[in-house]
Symmetry: C2
Subunit: 250 residues, 2 copies
């Protein structure tokens, strides 16, 4: 069933950005063409069948279903991916969510011949991690740094001061060419770069004081999915999909 061609994407990492149109979430598939090991970052429950089908078609073996943090706007696909593939779920130790593997700041994890580094970037939640892939000049920033924006700091353990410090100390210090891949975008833009956000991010180019003022006065609606998503995500990395959640994909 899977692709047999050994020439496919030679000399390149197999990289796919995927989109969930309901929650505006980006999911990332990263595969090593040689060893066939792959990881998925920020899978969305309703898209697991699509994503796992792609993993199989590409002849890959899923090693980790990872989350950048405990999401409040969608239910993670990690639990369902575990059921389907036997992969391990991964999240920050600080997240408060259960998973097979817990990461801390500066932890290195690998798939095939590639290494990524976890960067603790709290502020949207206490457990927010960014995943830095130095070899490919990529950073997966979750909800910490968005394209010309950033994650909310008005629920869960949100703190604008902490988020500002995380971005300036951990992401804006990466090489300028590093491509920024966020967990969401609401305008159809799929990536940015450290250089661009350093110059054009309308919030994070401000002083800390101005930033805190902006974040404390956004007056956003209460997140629609939070009361369903957070309890599910707290256990979903470890356990089966809760029975009371209609995943509508079977």
């Amino acid at each position: 069933m899977a692709l047999k061609t050994g020439t496919m994407l030679k000399n390149r990492i197999l990289f796919r950005q995927l989109f969930d149109n309901a929650s505006f979430t980006y999911t990332y598939l990263l595969g090593d063409v040689n060893s066939k090991e792959c990881i998925i970052i920020d899978p969305v429950l309703e898209q697991v069948k699509r994503d796992f089908k792609l993993v199989n078609e590409l002849g890959l073996k899923l090693k980790f279903a990872m989350n950048t943090h405990m999401h409040a706007d969608h239910i993670t696909g990690s639990g369902y991916l575990k059921q389907l593939s036997g992969c391990k779920s991964v999240i920050s130790k600080m997240s408060g969510a259960q998973a097979d593997i817990y990461l801390e700041d500066e932890d290195i994890f690998s798939f095939g011949n590639y290494n990524l580094k976890a960067l603790a970037t709290p502020g949207h939640t206490n457990g927010c991690l960014s995943y830095y892939f130095e070899d490919q000049q990529m950073v997966f920033t979750g909800d910490t740094l968005l394209i010309r924006g950033c994650g909310r700091t008005d629920f869960q353990e949100g703190s604008p001061e902490v988020l500002y410090k995380s971005v300036h100390s951990k992401i804006f210090t990466l090489p300028l060419d590093t491509i920024v891949y966020p967990a969401h975008d609401y305008k159809g833009v799929m990536s940015s770069s450290v250089a661009e956000e350093l110059k054009f991010n309308p919030r994070l180019t401000k002083s800390l004081k101005e930033f805190v003022d902006i974040m404390n006065n956004l007056n956003l609606d209460y997140p629609k999915q939070i009361d369903k998503a957070v309890p599910a995500n707290r256990v979903c990395g470890l356990h089966d999909i809760p029975d009371d959640i209609d995943i509508k994909i079977k």
Copy 2:
């Protein structure tokens, strides 16, 4: 205003895929980091301000606003991009649409130090071109080849026989590693490869006869935007935005 860093994306083409959530259209920005020349493929009128702002932020100069074909599901942004930037509009000679530059099969066009080749891939319309970027192992297939699908052949000059022949002779003969970037996807998938479509495309892996049967029995609704989009696109590459179209972006 524009980014000054010369190190940004060095050794890499500047490449951005952008999405229009209303028509599910992908727009592509390709830039030469050294000369700063760039092109946009399949711009959408309602997203022109977003895209042109990005061109300016990245310090690029827009050379061509190109279309893969005369679209029926959205109004092209080429006319408005011409007004804003002074770029030239480009489309197939066979499209029936007006533009500054007309391309035919095998024509080479360039931005900065990079060349792309136009491949005549009719079938969805008579004027469908795919744009092959050999240096970067990319092909922009418009509505000719979609991810696990293909464009409709039941309106404009659609012909399933012609589309099948185009894909098999012009796209499936490219190197297997070539990344396929279509004009649309409706499931949140952003790219594919020639190898994948050769193996997994549910329509184009069939025989010609089976393919024609499939395409002639899709029973799809009449395209919602066609009566507005096609007349506008017929002139929009050359002239100003028609006054009667509310572009809602000024």
